[in-house]
Structures are given as C-alpha cells and as structure tokens.
C-alpha cells in the first residue's frame, strides 16, 4: 500500500512516496514559479523511479495552504483529479497544523508560513489545539502577536512519517469539497 505526499504551498516542491508509513522516495526542489510546469512531471518521475503506477496509490496527503496562491491550487487540483478518477482517499491538511503536529512545546505556540510581505500564523495550545482563526500579518505586526507564545519560523519540510497516523485519523471529506485555504481576503 502506497501513499503520495504533495506539498506545493511555497517555493519548494515537496513530493514523497510512502510505503507502509515510511518514505521510500522523495523529491524536494526549489521550484519558484514552476509548480505548474513541474508538479505532474515530477510525480510521474517519482512513480517511475519507484516502479509504481497510479494504480498503486491508495492515499494522497496534500497540503492545502496557506501560502502561494498558485502553488496550493496546483497541488489541490492534481490531488482532486487523482482522487476522483482513481477513488483514492485524499487527506488535505494545512501547513500551519501540519507543523504544529511535529512540534513539541510545553507552552502555547505559533506556527507560521511566510511570504514576501508577511506571515500566515496559527496559534496552538501545547496540546496542539487551535486557538482562534488563522490570520495573515504584515511583518511589522508580528512582534505584538508573538506575546505569550513560543514562535516557530516556517519549517522547510515536515517529516510526514512522524505524523502519518495522526493524518490518517482525520475525518474523510467528499473529494469535490476539498479546496485550498486562502486566509487572505480578495482585493477587488
């Protein structure tokens, strides 16, 4: 039983194939502005290297944001199409919570995803329960928000093996209802 991990939420393209909860092959490359060009291409390469086909994939874990507007829609569109066509379970998880899952903190903490102008942040209790809504802050507003929390800069990569069981316990949702999380408001 194999799983495919897709993370396109920032300038890195992180892909992995897991077998029995262990990563058997992964790709991590800087793909600034190239997620659309590279993601399917690299998934095909990864499957090929592992001598697997799409038929062998039983679950997909996909990062649904926040971060690169284009990036997350690339990952989600691919995951939804695979999930719909091949009846593959798709687990979508946001990167703020994903980081929270691997953090061991004895006080309340903040996980973050940064972009050019600021930070998406999520506040969590030490038991990894979310506090309030995720928000987007400009760089200069960050210090004030940090008060009372341990702040974690964005991790380049999360060891998906260590949180695999927790992700698999997440509630299953209808494939058509899987969508990116955006947080930022649309400017019209």
């Amino acid at each position: 039983m194999n799983d495919l991990y897709i993370d396109t939420h920032n300038q890195l393209l992180n892909l992995a194939i897991l077998k029995d909860k262990k990563i058997i092959k992964k790709i991590s490359l800087d793909s600034t502005n190239s997620h659309s060009k590279l993601t399917v291409f690299k998934i095909a390469e990864l499957l090929n290297d592992c001598k697997l086909s799409v038929e062998d994939i039983k679950n997909i874990i996909v990062v649904n944001g926040p971060g690169s507007f284009t990036g997350i829609r690339v990952g989600i569109t691919i995951a939804k199409t695979l999930g719909y066509c091949k009846n593959i379970n798709v687990y979508s998880i946001d990167y703020l919570y994903l980081q929270a899952l691997v953090i061991n903190s004895d006080s309340n903490f903040i996980t973050s995803v940064s972009d050019k102008k600021g930070y998406f942040i999520g506040k969590f209790t030490k038991d990894k329960k979310r506090i309030g809504d995720y928000t987007y802050l400009k760089k200069e507003d960050l210090e004030k928000e940090k008060e009372g929390y341990l702040f974690f800069e964005e991790m380049k990569n999360v060891n998906i093996e260590s949180v695999y069981d927790k992700i698999k316990r997440m509630k299953k949702v209808n494939i058509h209802d899987i969508n990116p999380i955006y947080i930022k408001k649309i400017n019209v």
Partner: protein, 337 residues
C-alpha cells in the same frame, strides 16, 4: 478497413467558464459541460481573476464528473486529452492544465495543448465542416482579425485591429451608457430597440483590411457628453444602435473587400462577438450577394466552451502533435497568428 473514431476529452478554463467536453472526430459533440461563473463576476462589474481561479479549483472535478456522466463514457475510452493553454488568465488556465496533465498521467493518454483562438475558429466544425481555402473573421473581446486559411492551422492574417478589439469596444460603450457586465450583449439588446439616428462615422474606410474602433468609441462618449452639457436625456437605444451600425458596417466593408479581391468562396466567423445577431445577419446578406458559402457556429459554441477545444485538437491529434507534462504551461498572451 473502417476508420476508427477518435474521441477527445477537452478542457477549457481560460476565463470565467469551467468547461469540459467529449468530441468525436473533431465534429460531433458527445457531451458538453459548462460551469459559468458569470453571476459571481456580475457583482463586481467584470471578471475578477482571483475569484475566477478559486472557482475553477472548486468545480473542476464536478465538471469532470458531469461530462463523463452525460457522455456515459470513461476516461479510459478517449484517445487524447486536450486543454486550452493560452491566451487567458494564468491562474484560471492553470487549473484546466493541471487537471489535463493529471488525466494524461493516470490514463496514459496523449496530451494536446490548444490555443483558445484556434478553438473559436474550429467551433465552426461543430456546425458545418470548414472548407478550405476560407476567410475567417475572428471577433471577440481581444480580437478583430480577418484571416485567410488555406489549410488546417495555416493562418495568413490579412488585417487586424489597430486599437480596440470589437468586443472591447462594445464593453466600453456599455460602460459609457451605464450598462452592466456583460456589456457587449447588453449593448446589442439596446441597439435592437433603437434606430441609427446619430449617424456616427464608419471607421477606417481605407484600402487595408485593418479595423479601428477607438475613434468610434470616442464619438459615442462625445455624444453622451454633449447631452450632459445640454442637460438632455441621452437616447441610449438610438446611440447603441448608431454605434453598432457603424462598427459592424466597417467590419462588413472589409470582409466584402477581401471576398472581392481574393475571390474566396468560403467564409467562417469565430469568437464571442460572432453570437451578435446583427453581425450575423449582415454577413448572411454579404455572402448571399457574392454567392459565398457562409458558416456560422451555433450560438452555444460562440461563447467559451470546451467542445471547440476538442474540435481544434482533432487536426493536431491527426498530426500527433502531442506535448509532454513539462511542456504545457499557461500563457496569458500568445498570438495564434
């Protein structure tokens, strides 16, 4: 041996419609699914790219499910996957492209990238088979081109707009007249109720095959301003009709010149503005006069839809013009010719 039928699953998401179709042999529409976002964008007076991109992502698998159910087919049964890659909104195009690439990966089907404007031209094959050589008039929000096609994907541009495209001019006039989005069709509706009383000049009456609409648009603005200064109510219906009469006359004049000079016996029209009934009627009269075979695409295939992408992909399929996963990328501006 009987020729094998070719089925193409086509995807179009270049602007505010998420559409998929299955087309047989480039001419028979087995199924068409169109999810339009027009009601959402109406609220903002025009297409908001970021909203369009989000909505494509939301509905992409729903549209796929719909088209397969309508066709009662499986993706396994099609021969190729076709997708619009340019021109259009990058964020919107991308959703269709990622879906197409993924389908190509899953089912090991060839991937065909199609130019949106070629799609509008080949929409004609869904109604009447295009006979070459033919003159093609491409009229849309971004195009006003008169093209000679001697064969498939063989485009010789005779003339183009020097400023605004015809659809753009309609939209700008709509704004001046206080009409809501989508402006073009609303101006056409107004024009239907009015008379050509303003006698606006017919643009660019020269020897070229080119077009120009910004001067005509300015004339409309001048008329509106004149009324404002005199504190008179503008007759919107008559002004819309006067604009339409002059704009279409300039297009039809250039088409007539091309028909006479090139002695072409076939004429096709393409693009969103080809749904304009006044333009269609004027071209019917013109082609009758010169005994030219005129093809008008069905209304349903004039606006953005994936069936036309399936039609345009067919000649590319026959040439085995396939693309790899890293070779299909969205481009906002990419001239077909």
């Amino acid at each position: 041996m009987e020729k094998k039928d070719i089925f193409i699953l086509a995807i179009e998401s270049s602007c505010d419609e998420t559409s998929m179709a299955i087309v047989k042999n480039g001419c028979d529409v087995i199924a068409l699914s169109v999810f339009t976002q027009i009601d959402t964008h109406k609220l903002y007076g025009g297409v908001v790219p970021e909203i369009a991109s989000r909505m494509h992502t939301e509905v992409i698998t729903i549209v796929l499910d719909d088209v397969l159910k309508k066709a009662n087919m499986k993706v396994e049964e099609v021969d190729a996957i076709a997708v619009t890659y340019a021109p259009g909104l990058i964020g919107s195009l991308m959703v269709g492209i990622e879906c197409a690439k993924t389908l190509s990966l899953i089912y090991n089907k060839p991937l065909i990238k199609v130019n949106h404007i070629a799609g509008h031209i080949y929409a004609n094959n869904l109604t009447n088979k295009i006979i070459f050589p033919t003159l093609a008039l491409v009229v849309s929000g971004g195009h006003t081109d008169l093209v000679l096609m001697k064969n498939d994907y063989d485009f010789e541009v005779l003339g183009t707009t020097l400023d605004d495209a015809i659809g753009e001019a309609y939209d700008k006039v709509a704004r001046v007249l206080g009409e809501k989005y989508p402006g073009g069709p609303n101006v056409e509706k107004l024009a239907l109720k009015g008379k050509d009383t303003y006698n606006l000049p017919i643009p660019l009456q020269d020897d070229s095959y080119n077009f120009s609409f910004s001067g005509l648009k300015s004339s409309v603005i001048n008329e509106v301003n004149k009324c404002k200064m005199k504190k008179e109510e503008i007759n919107k219906e008559n002004l819309a009709c006067s604009f339409q009469t002059s704009a279409i006359a300039s297009i039809v004049n250039k088409c007539e010149k091309a028909i006479i000079n090139l002695k072409t016996k076939n004429f096709i029209i393409a693009g969103g503005v080809s749904a304009n009934k006044y333009l269609r009627n004027q071209l019917i009269n013109l082609c009758d006069k010169y005994n030219v075979n005129l093809s008008l695409p069905d209304f349903v295939y004039c606006t953005d839809n994936a069936a036309m992408i399936g039609a345009a992909a067919y000649p590319l399929f026959l040439k085995s013009d396939f693309s790899s996963f890293d070779d299909v990328n969205p481009e906002s501006r990419l001239p077909l010719f």
